[in-house]
């Protein structure tokens, strides 16, 4: 691993040869962004050539994408030459975002990835994915936040007008509430759609209301036999009784009489009641 790192630091030096041309190109790009986008494919062709050498070094490693991005980071810090490439690329992305040209970005990436088949494809694609995936998305998010007041993560390839964003926010809220309900209502699977979920919710609410009605009838029946006038401290009794039962249950569980024995003991203890 140490050898690789040494070699990785050696590799950026060939960049210096192409340095002056690249810097001039980047400065040119800042002035004329559109033409730069069109020339992007050719530009990338030149930049990827030195990287192909490194790709062969790293080809045996399993986590190639990570090491590539790590190498790119190292090269960013170590060499000045690598920086203008990436800064130019990010600027390109920013400019394209400013003009709502997400299509252009995608097409340019498509051009770059397709126009360089001769150079090692895996390295380019991985670099594209890692670089664009980590940077493009963050740039898109950054550029979108100051525009719209609603803080929404606009994903790649999705519409960015305020209406669809607001709808997405609304849908997100509704889905969140539905997920809460899913946890509460039994028999709801994550794969169920809105209609099925609502069916389950309606059924559950109806069953609960029926249960309450049934219990109220039972309570009235049970309360007719009960002498309420002598029940001044009934709540204390009830709570005491519940606490006692809970304690006994715990004791029985600890002693291991969880099975039928436990139930039998419980029954015998319950008949004594609060004396």
């Amino acid at each position: 691993m140490a050898d690789f790192s040494e070699q990785s630091y050696r590799q950026p030096f060939p960049f210096l040869d192409i340095d002056p041309t690249m810097e001039s190109l980047t400065q040119f790009a800042e002035l004329n962004p559109q033409s730069f986008i069109l020339d992007n494919s050719a530009f990338n062709f030149q930049t990827f050539f030195p990287l192909s050498i490194n790709d062969s070094l790293f080809s045996n490693q399993a986590s190639q994408g990570e090491t590539m991005s790590g190498f790119i980071h190292n090269s960013n810090q170590s060499s000045v030459s690598a920086q203008p490439i990436f800064s130019a690329k990010t600027e390109v992305e920013e400019i394209s975002n400013k003009r709502k040209a997400l299509d252009i970005l995608e097409s340019s990436s498509g051009n770059s990835s397709s126009s360089s088949p001769q150079v090692s494809e895996t390295g380019i694609k991985r670099r594209n994915n890692s670089g664009r995936g980590k940077r493009a998305k963050s740039n898109e998010k950054e550029m979108e936040k100051p525009k719209e007041l609603v803080h929404v993560r606009a994903r790649r390839g999705q519409a960015t007008d305020s209406h669809s964003l607001a709808e997405r926010v609304r849908r997100g809220k509704i889905n969140e509430r539905l997920r809460c309900l899913q946890d509460i209502v039994p028999g709801c699977y994550k794969t169920m759609g809105m209609a099925l979920m609502l069916d389950e919710i309606i059924n559950y609410v109806q069953s609960l209301q029926n249960q309450v009605e049934f219990l109220s009838m039972k309570l009235t029946a049970a309360s007719t036999y009960y002498d309420f006038n002598s029940e001044s401290d009934a709540m204390e009794r009830m709570q005491r009784r519940k606490a006692e039962e809970a304690k006994e249950l715990e004791r029985l569980m600890r002693e291991g009489y969880v099975g039928i024995g436990g139930v039998a003991c419980f029954h015998s203890s319950s008949t004594y009641g609060p004396l």
Partner: protein, 163 residues
């Protein structure tokens, strides 16, 4: 939603319900199941402390005979649909499936007749949690009462038997 699962809320509700039950028993000797149901719902709404719409709706209009009103409304709706010409496709009637279900849900949860989908779901989750607690509390009270009446004769026998 989480407050309906705590034991403390359960105790508060069951004690209040029991007190209300005692009071209603003392004032009027005859208590129907419907009255008890209403008092139980009202005590539940009071325990909610007025943060939710359904609780406020229960407390606001408790004394009306709601079943008669509902029947009137249903009759009116059916007449209108029969007078209309069946020009509208059955597809269009079936498309807002979700809307129909939301309407049914609005009828079930008290006080949520004109609520948006978003708020309706929130109210529903709170209402379901409260109903679950109500069921638990009422079963506990019923058990207590039924055990209390069964105990009184057996207690004396039990104590005599042991001694």
């Amino acid at each position: 939603m989480k407050r309906w699962t705590t034991k403390r809320e359960h105790q508060i509700y069951s004690s209040k319900l029991f007190q209300a039950l005692c009071r209603s028993r003392r004032t009027s000797s005859s208590t129907s199941a419907k009255e008890l149901h209403q008092t139980a719902d009202r005590v539940l709404a009071i325990t909610a402390k007025g943060t939710t719409r359904w609780s406020r709706a229960i407390l606001a209009a408790p004394l009306t005979a709601s079943t008669n009103m509902k029947k009137h409304k249903k009759a009116k709706v059916t007449v209108h649909t029969r007078l209309r010409k069946p020009v509208v496709n059955r597809e269009k009637r079936k498309l807002p499936v979700v809307e129909r279900k939301l309407r049914a849900l609005r009828r079930l949860v008290p006080g949520c007749r004109k609520l948006s989908c978003n708020n309706l779901l929130e109210e529903t989750s709170d209402y379901i949690a409260a109903l679950e607690m109500q069921v638990r509390a009422m079963t506990a009270i019923t058990e207590f009462l039924s055990r209390g009446e069964a105990q009184v004769p057996t207690d004396r026998l039990g104590s005599i038997g042991n001694m």
